[in-house]
């Protein structure tokens, strides 16, 4: 799943409020900016502060980005069963679909190039489910590199409170380790 990066590249993160998806979108957008790209990050959420469905989208391009929302994602991440039900079939044939098998049953249908990975389990092992977003980011960027590793690490450091940096660094490593397992299995 390597090769020249598409331009623009469209990424959709989906799950429940509180899983840190909007933060993940902001970190990815910040990394893209550090790489010298143009970027638009949007979000959709309900009136609730926690739970409820939540979605963050990032579009990265060398050119100007007119339409700010994802039309057909190049990468889709689903961290909740509800999100998978909503989005996992609305993808293109080449979309890389990453489903968190900790939260999403195998019977939930998905289209595209589907990967079922225990993301939240990996986050818990790295220090807590709160870093499932960072595990996801590192995992995604290892499988489909959309930003440089250096920019991603710097963006995580800049956007995460100082006392959680070490935890997020472990989460980043856990995500990359999960990606290596996928590569070994393919």
């Amino acid at each position: 799943m390597s090769g020249a990066m598409k331009d623009p590249v469209q990424i959709r993160f989906s799950g429940s409020g509180g899983q840190g998806l909007i933060t993940a979108g902001v970190i990815l957008a910040e990394a893209a900016m550090l790489d010298g790209r143009n970027v638009v990050q949007t979000q959709t959420y309900g009136p609730e502060a926690r739970l409820g469905s939540s979605r963050a989208e990032v579009i990265i391009s060398k050119g100007t980005i007119a339409y700010p929302e994802v039309t057909v994602p190049d990468v889709l991440l689903c961290l909740s069963q509800e999100a998978a039900r909503k989005y996992a079939m609305k993808v293109g044939p080449e979309t890389v679909v990453m489903l968190d098998s900790t939260n999403i049953g195998e019977d939930i249908p998905a289209s595209g190039r589907v990967l079922r990975l225990a993301i939240t389990d990996a986050a818990v092992k790295a220090g807590g489910r709160v870093v499932a977003n960072t595990v996801s980011l590192a995992l995604m960027n290892a499988i489909v590199p959309v930003v440089s590793r250096g920019a991603l690490s710097r963006a995580i450091e800049e956007r995460v409170p100082a006392k959680f940096r070490e935890l997020n660094r472990r989460a980043q490593e856990a995500g990359e380790a999960l990606a290596r397992e996928v590569a070994a299995a393919v």
Binding site: A29, E30, N38, V40, A66, Y67, P68, T71
Partner: protein, 387 residues
């Protein structure tokens, strides 16, 4: 290279207000505008400027009017329900010719509606929300950089013309993050209100010069119809003052008009859009051109006074104007009026809380073109029958 920052529309708005010299904010938090208030709640006091959380939006608009008469550059930010409460105050700001800026981050309405969903349903309210003929300027923005520039522009126009200026953005622009070149001091013009040459004999409503309370002159400010001295008048004197106040904005229609153009030079289809909807509209231009239809975009940044001349210019050159909006058809009425029958006008509305997509706008344009061609053929064959 300029320093770049990844910021939300609301962040850009808050920082742009400080860039423009805003030194007084009064507001009541409401989704999707709250980040403007949150940021100013710590940034303004840190600079020795004033931030007040009011008990509601009626108090908020009243506070910024009073502070403006105290000499401050003032701002409040809100969304639909709060904007509705502010209408009486906006009328008071208009008749007292008070420079102030009101940001409305539009959300789906009416009433509580859908707080986290974007819309463009407050366009007519921004223009006509308060009662009576009145002067007001309404601006909009379709991206984060524009939000910065239009916020500064809103302050400049308020200062220069002594009017309330309303900046209409929407939930998507308000919460969207984009990388922008961060303006340094001096990059954008900042205008301060004109002061009279001397305080003695100052007439508060005789022109654009402005003197705050406590600066050496005693004068009267009232919501009653008033003359240049600020005391109540009626009959022809009231009419004369109202005509002057409204005229100072409407007579500057051309000067105040701001718009971006995209591939309009050779266009046969003109999309006239504004705010967030200008973005799918621009992508729709590309889709239509890929289908062999020469489309172009006029992205309006000034919504009031309505730039008739810009729309008229497009209507003279195209066969069709498409007017996409996140409402059931508001600005399209102004567009139709300005086009004055010179071309067909197709309204495209969406009110489910989602953005119009490029494909939707392009499909409507193609459909309108086909309908126009069918009508043309029918007219030609009818003429054939008559001949």
């Amino acid at each position: 290279m300029k320093s770049q920052r990844l910021v939300q529309g609301n962040e850009a708005c808050a920082h742009a207000a400080m860039y423009a010299g805003c030194n007084f904010y009064a507001g009541y938090p409401i989704t999707p505008s709250s980040e403007v208030m949150e940021i100013l709640s710590y940034e303004l006091p840190a600079r020795g400027r004033v931030f007040i959380q009011m008990e509601d939006e009626i108090a908020s608009i009243s506070a910024i009017i009073g502070a403006a008469w105290g000499g401050a550059k003032t701002l409040t930010a809100t969304s639909g329900p709060g904007f509705s409460l502010m209408q009486e105050g906006i009328g008071y700001a208009a008749i007292t010719e008070t420079p102030c800026v009101i940001v409305n981050c539009q959300r789906w309405g009416p009433s509580t509606g859908q707080p986290t969903k974007g819309a463009q349903g407050d366009v007519m309210q921004a223009i006509w929300g308060t009662h009576g003929d009145h002067p007001v300027i309404v601006l909009t923005a379709s991206n984060v950089r524009d939000t910065f520039e239009m916020t500064v522009r809103a302050f400049n126009l308020a200062e220069k013309h002594r009017v309330p200026v309303i900046l209409l953005i929407d939930e998507v622009v308000a919460h969207m993050r984009e990388n922008i070149d961060w303006p340094e001091p001096g990059d954008l013009e900042v205008i301060e209100r004109a002061r009279p040459a001397e305080a003695k004999g100052f007439r508060p409503f005789a022109g654009d010069a402005f003197l705050p309370f406590g600066a050496g002159a005693r004068f009267h400010v009232t919501g009653l119809a008033h003359g240049p001295e600020g005391f109540a008048v009626s009959d022809e004197a009231a009419a004369k003052e109202l005509r002057r106040m409204v005229g100072k904005i409407m007579d500057r229609k051309v000067e105040l008009a701001m718009a971006d153009r995209y591939l309009l030079e050779d266009a046969e289809v003109g999309i006239v859009a504004y705010g967030i909807t200008a973005r799918p509209a621009q992508a729709a231009v590309d889709l239509l051109r890929a289908e062999g239809v020469r489309a172009g975009l006029l992205n309006l940044k000034t919504l009031w006074p309505f730039p008739d001349h810009l729309v008229a210019e497009v209507s003279e050159r195209v066969g069709l104007i498409v007017s996409p909006e996140l409402n059931m058809g508001q600005l399209v009425r102004e567009i139709e009026r300005a086009a004055a029958g010179r071309c067909a006008v197709r309204a495209v509305g969406r009110v489910d809380g989602h953005l119009l997509t490029p494909a939707q706008i392009a499909t409507e344009a193609m459909d309108a073109l086909r309908a126009g061609a069918d009508r043309g053929m029918a007219e030609r064959s009818a003429e054939g029958v008559r001949a």
